[in-house]
Symmetry: C2
């Protein structure tokens, strides 16, 4: 994804293309595979891979802005830290608790034959399948 596209992506979601947002966006979205991270891991990676400095609060702000704009999704992981995913399509996850690592599962690789219907007046927003791994 070129810089110009990053600009468009930000603009189209009402986010000013500031220096920090562009840098973070480039880091997150200029890759082939999907990327899973926590704010902490992103902070460390940015420190290592870029020359800019980022306040932690900026990383929180930016990541949440991207999430709100639909460029990132937040993943259901039990634990303290929040995980984000650059894959915003509907999909599922393996979780390796040994390494605290998430692995994407394509929505087509999971087929659910039967689920109960939502209770009284509620509707189903989405179904997340989470497969915990062990060694």
């Amino acid at each position: 994804m070129k810089k110009i596209d990053i600009f468009k992506k930000l603009r189209s979601s009402g986010l000013r293309p500031t220096k920090q947002r562009v840098e973070i966006a480039k880091f997150l979205f200029e890759r082939d595979k999907t990327f899973h991270f926590t704010v902490e891991s992103l902070d460390k990676l940015l420190a290592k891979k870029t020359t800019s400095k980022f306040a932690l609060a900026t990383i929180y702000n930016t990541v949440h802005a991207f999430k709100k704009a639909g460029h990132l999704s937040e993943v259901e992981v039990r634990g303290k830290k929040t995980y984000f995913d650059t894959n915003i399509t509907n999909h599922h996850h393996f979780y390796d608790s040994e390494t605290c690592e998430l692995i994407d599962i394509d929505a087509n690789d999971v087929v659910i034959q039967k689920i109960p219907k939502a209770p009284n007046g509620k509707k189903i927003k989405n179904v997340e399948v989470f497969i915990n791994l062990k060694n």
Copy 2:
């Protein structure tokens, strides 16, 4: 569940039946339906429903001891607080984000036809299905 059974339950899992543990166990397990809670909600309920006093740390300790002994399970819910469930059988959940409420789904009410196999050298520990609700 009678008091004597609470004692047995604790004993058999290597937990001394102290005043606090017995009180908390009675509160958690002497009920027909499964019970979902956070440490915070449990603390409030104990304060309201019992005459004893409990340090917050004791509630954390006790709940984790019960979890370790297999009397409680921890539920996959995104968010800050950890949810526990007195239903320790393999089952799934609805989650109502409006009310922050969990609802059990019997394992038999979910049939998964296809899941991918675990990656390289890993095995599947368990599969959790989480159905988010909306209004």
